[in-house]
Amino acid sequence: MSVQAIPKASTAASEPAADWDALAARARGVRRTKAVVLYAFLIAVSLPIILPYFWLVTIAFSARSGVAETAVLWRSMAVVVPAVVAFWLTAALAQSRRQLWIGIATVAAIAVFAFAVLVGPDLHVGNFIFLWEPDFASVVRSRIGEVKGAVQFPNVWHAFGNSILIAGAQTAIVVTVASLAAYYLSRFQFPGRSSMLRSLLVLHAFPVLTLIVPMFLMLYWIGLLDTLSGVILVLVAFELPFAIFIMKGFYDAVPWDIEMSALTDGASRRQAFVSVVLPQVRNGILAIAVFTFIRGWEEYIFVFTFLIRNSNWTMSLYMYWVRDDVMGVDYGVVSAVGVFYLVPSLILYMAAQRYLMQMSIGGVKG
């Protein structure tokens, strides 16, 4: 391979001709190594994330009272670990989208079949007894002959309803207040606006646990201790700053022109807000709604501190007491309650995933 001498580049002429094939081979080698390292890393991090959830579900559907059996877990792991590795290998080796889908479908089919053979015979829904038997604690204990001392559990659907009520009411208030407040912060100039924005962030930085004693006293004096509305108010107060901040970012991204155009088109300020501005920030509203709802759904500290009567239990408290009462006896029931507790937030996340992804885009401008 000859190199033509270019008058200006004197160094190029003096050096030996470059070996293009060797350079290409080296680049290929580097690319391969990088890919191998990347996929090894992906396999290594995805396993510890997937396994606990998988085991939770497996235990919920397979554990039996009084039997400490871990063989089924090892068998299920023998299905999942190769499946995860096979999934990433397929992703790494697939040459086209079509191959990728065929590969994933094959891996999934084999995994499902193996699961049905190895784990299938052990599956049952007996652990979900709490869904239809309010006094399940006594039933579970009686299986191993120890009946006395069981906690009186409320109906699980009652706790479920309380959780929905807390999360739903909190979401409704936060969404309403945040979308109005953020609009004002985004569009209007008023004294103390920038310091207010700064304090919003500081408020969010506050560890909420530090306030739990004063909050307890406050609720006690107001008379809202051991009421759902008291907890709702506290949760709203802690969630609002962040929600307002996120919403402000979304409003900032809506151009003034559109609003001015609506005003000259005959809309009042309020009509312009409702019919032109709000639809533009719909994704932001959905995002804060989902986050606030899930925050309320998984709330534990405040409900544990501020709610006392068992008719006021939420799912997290129910879960806590189930663990407290039957864990040593039957961890299958505990896992089943966990699965039951998990399902609504999982459904919500999956339904709203598209909008949550956009929050990071709209929100960073804040």
Partner: protein, 355 residues
């Protein structure tokens, strides 16, 4: 249709006075352009007309009635924004229908008017689409339809062509002008582009730093600019401005002597438009430094004793090359003489090319 009047209108934002004092009458059915560089207060004036900004002082009149405090929605003004400001979550039909929603127009009539407006700007086949699915030119038309559907008494256009590509700009220019002729609605165009202003408007209001520099027809501004600023702003390629001293019927510029007609003395600036300069046997001497072919015409940059001078020649009379020595002549009536200190045109003063 409305006659618009600014009477001593002032606009301040906090301590900043954007428009010190504005007096202007726009006749019923007129097409005027507010022309000026960015930050000269032309958009502020437009938003005051629309009712989005309230004047800080003075009176704004529509047909003789003070409208200072009338809300934007009650002014019946159509506006087309630079960004078009279409409502992205609505179909084109709903966009055009939007102004009628608040007027409680009966449904059938509203749909008929949307159809008519869409036909007028030729977007009838796009009614079901979303704004994001339209090209820039189509969005522009939809914005026009939305502004026109409410049969406004005043149509405001805020830099309507600046986001379009060159050829589309040309056709939209013609289209907007013919729309105005067809509908006869009083129209105010805001632009920083002198070509847009001179091609579309009946009258141009040239603004600078919140003040009206000159009001006149495109010809007035081109042929008789009242100040150096207007002379420099109107015309492309820009006018040649040559500073000199006037004394006893002669303007002396760096040794070259231009015979002066009309009275002027002291420091003056001579304005010569590139398209009025001709290469010939007489005039002032120079050397061609650069040649810029512009299609039909060729722009020559000529180094002379008084600095670089731009000369625009018809392409057919080409045949000059870089480095060539040339003589530049012009007709006296095409020359402009400004008083340098006040930056104002000296009426009736002209210079002749040196013999």
């Amino acid at each position: 249709m409305a006659k618009i009047e600014f009477r001593n209108v002032v606009k301040r934002f906090g301590a900043i006075e954007v428009i010190p004092e504005m007096n202007l009458v726009i006749e019923d059915g007129e097409f005027v352009a507010l022309l000026g560089p960015s930050g000269c207060g032309k958009s502020t004036s437009l938003f005051m007309l629309a009712g989005i900004y309230l004047p800080s002082g003075g009176e704004l009149l529509f047909d003789g009635h003070v409208v200072n405090e009338v809300e934007a929605r009650d002014r019946n003004v159509g506006i087309v924004f630079q960004s078009y400001a279409l409502y992205p979550h609505m179909s084109v039909r709903d966009n055009i229908l939007f102004p009628l929603r608040f007027k409680k127009t009966p449904r059938d009539e509203a749909f008929a008017r949307v159809k008519a407006a869409a036909d007028l700007v030729r977007v009838a086949e796009l009614l079901e689409r979303r704004p994001s699915e339209l090209s820039g030119g189509q969005q522009q038309r939809v914005a026009l339809a939305r502004a026109l559907v409410k049969e406004p008494q005043l149509l405001l256009l805020d830099e309507p062509l600046s986001n379009l590509d060159a050829s589309l700009r040309l056709s939209m220019r013609t289209e907007i002008k013919s729309l105005h002729e067809q509908l006869g609605v009083t129209t105010v165009l805001v632009t920083h582009d002198q070509i847009e202003a001179t091609t579309m408007a009946d009258r141009i209001i040239c603004m600078r730093a919140g003040r009206i520099e000159q009001v006149g027809t495109p010809d007035d501004l081109y042929l008789r600019p009242s100040s150096l600023f207007v002379a420099g702003f109107i015309g492309s390629p820009p006018i040649n401005l040559i500073a000199g001293e006037a004394e006893a019927g002669t303007v002396t510029v760096n040794g070259a002597r231009f015979p002066l007609e009309g009275g002027a003395s002291g420091s003056v600036t001579v304005g010569l438009r590139p398209e009025h300069l001709r290469f010939g046997e007489t005039g002032f001497a120079g050397r061609i430094a650069q040649i810029e072919p512009m299609g039909r015409e060729i722009l020559y940059v000529v180094e002379t004793g008084m600095g670089a001078v731009r000369v625009l020649e018809q392409g057919s009379s080409a045949g000059h090359s870089t480095g060539e020595q040339v003589m530049i002549g012009f007709l006296p009536e095409n020359s402009l003489v400004f008083e340098t200190a006040r930056q104002k045109l000296i009426a009736g003063a002209h210079v002749r090319a040196p013999e």
